[in-house]
Symmetry: C2
Subunit: 295 residues, 2 copies
């Protein structure tokens, strides 16, 4: 069913966007994409809101910086770069569509614009600024393989990875702006890394997370970009907490099927018991009453 | 809605069952439960198939060792111990019901037998031996709080934790016989620990995993029992790979709600987007919608 595909190199570009400086940010992104291309990468993943920065003073500032996808300035710059270099680019972008603002991720390739994902799970003060995602969980068929997209806090929801894996995703690219989690012990693995290693392993998918670094208007970010194989172990990274870095790893999507088969009897997707999981998921508002009696 | 509850101590008893030696195993379990009780523990979690061992030569050997729950020898020994010591005990047990054999976990307490969970996701050569679980995912209301059960490979399925959390579970107790995962780097955290830390964090639940140690008929087990808080960080453990140990940690179930609220805008359960996850996962039937009505 799945034809044999050539392995390719993927780059996660961990860098430091500057709030409001869209032109400078696009130039910085292009410079690093060209560097990753020279190193042989065919797929580039850039951070969340890579064109605008993250900590907007208010909705007006965000609205002024955001642009349409794919017609806008940021999207067009990346589409042109992907065409020129014969590469695929995933980037977080601030999207404006009419009066609505979305925290989006765009995928483009050698033939131009491919598609957009809009962040489903908005984090903290993104909530009053952005409209929650309304494009579902698309999985894009490309010449390289089937690629899904997510953004930052989306990764806290196991359903997202599972849904995309069941829709055929083999690689999920995640622009992110991870912030510190409460009670993180100083020497422990970042919880963001833990969650994605678990998601890669329990779904048998490649996951590439490109984070930003720096402190913006008082908000620190944690770096730790990472590229994960379908067994949940790192192929590259985690990158440092506060230094720019381009992680590069080889991706062989033909390993997805063999990794999912843990032994002669088990397959991480095939072993699911949807007959039971559906029973009886109720919404959290009523989940704290009479837990063992409902039907 | 949720009344204030007293914190309690929970013990995960990591030990080495001997295949086929049910009497000796029950004596070893009792000795360690009494030791944990002297240390102040109110809830005891024992490994998967703690009464029989794990690597059965064939179905006949398993059938001979397995016993009914709660009427059988193993269950009755633990029920008596829980009554005597005024404690709660969770243990993996080989269950026989008529011609069927289940890899089960039983919960009993100061007032006797409470309920049974039957492993939904069978691992490797368990498949030809055991019948897959047919009691759904029960969550048991106790004086301490709402407790869910799972067994070993069940922990590879994020839907299981999510379903129980949405049904109100605050603590999930997991008897396990973890085996090495493919490609585990020597110095890395055991993937079994990673998966449960992720599940604890992304659901805001306490998780207690009691593993066995030793090599049985050529099959090694990895120890690494662990008790996790609802933020996904270890309260105790991981225990050593190949030494017996009784892990003990304080559990304050009133921390579940506050930990789930990550900030003023976010709640790890409330932020779910079931409108999207369902697409295109076919919602399961309600065939198993009455998970465990026996009391």
């Amino acid at each position: 069913m799945i034809k044999h595909r050539e392995p390719f190199k993927l780059a996660c570009i961990q860098y430091r966007p500057v709030i409001g400086a869209v032109g400078d940010n696009l130039a910085a992104m292009e410079k690093r994409v060209r560097e990753a291309h020279r190193a042989g990468a065919r797929v580039m993943v850039l951070p969340e809101l890579a064109d605008t920065g993250y900590v907007f003073r208010d909705r007006a500032e965000l609205a002024d910086l955001a642009s349409p996808i794919p017609e806008g300035r940021s999207a067009q710059a990346l589409v042109a770069l992907a065409r020129e270099l014969d590469i695929y680019v995933v980037s977080g972008l601030a999207e404006r569509e009419g009066q609505r603002l979305y925290n989006s991720a765009m995928l483009c390739g050698p033939d131009g614009y491919i598609g957009t994902y809009r962040k489903l799970h908005l984090w903290d003060r993104e909530n009053p600024l952005f409209t929650p995602g309304d494009l579902g969980l698309p999985v894009f068929e490309t010449d390289l393989g089937r690629i899904g997209l997510a953004v930052c806090y989306d990764g806290w929801f196991p359903e997202l990875f599972r849904t995309m894996a069941l829709k055929g995703a083999e690689l999920i690219c995640i622009p992110t702006n991870w912030v510190p989690m409460p009670a993180q012990p100083p020497e422990a693995e970042a919880m963001a890394n833990t969650l994605h290693r678990a998601a890669a392993h329990s779904n048998g998918i490649f996951i590439a997370c490109a984070d930003r670094i720096g402190v913006e208007r008082g908000q620190p970010f944690i770096g730790r970009s990472i590229i994960l194989g379908p067994d949940g172990w790192a192929l590259a990274g985690p990158a440092p907490e506060n230094e720019e870095e381009i992680l590069i790893a080889g991706i062989d999507l033909d390993k997805v099927a063999s990794t999912r088969a843990l032994n002669a009897f088990n397959d991480v997707l095939g072993d699911r018991r949807p007959d039971v999981y559906g029973d009886p998921i109720v919404e959290p508002s009523t989940a704290n009453s009479q837990p063992n009696e409902r039907t």
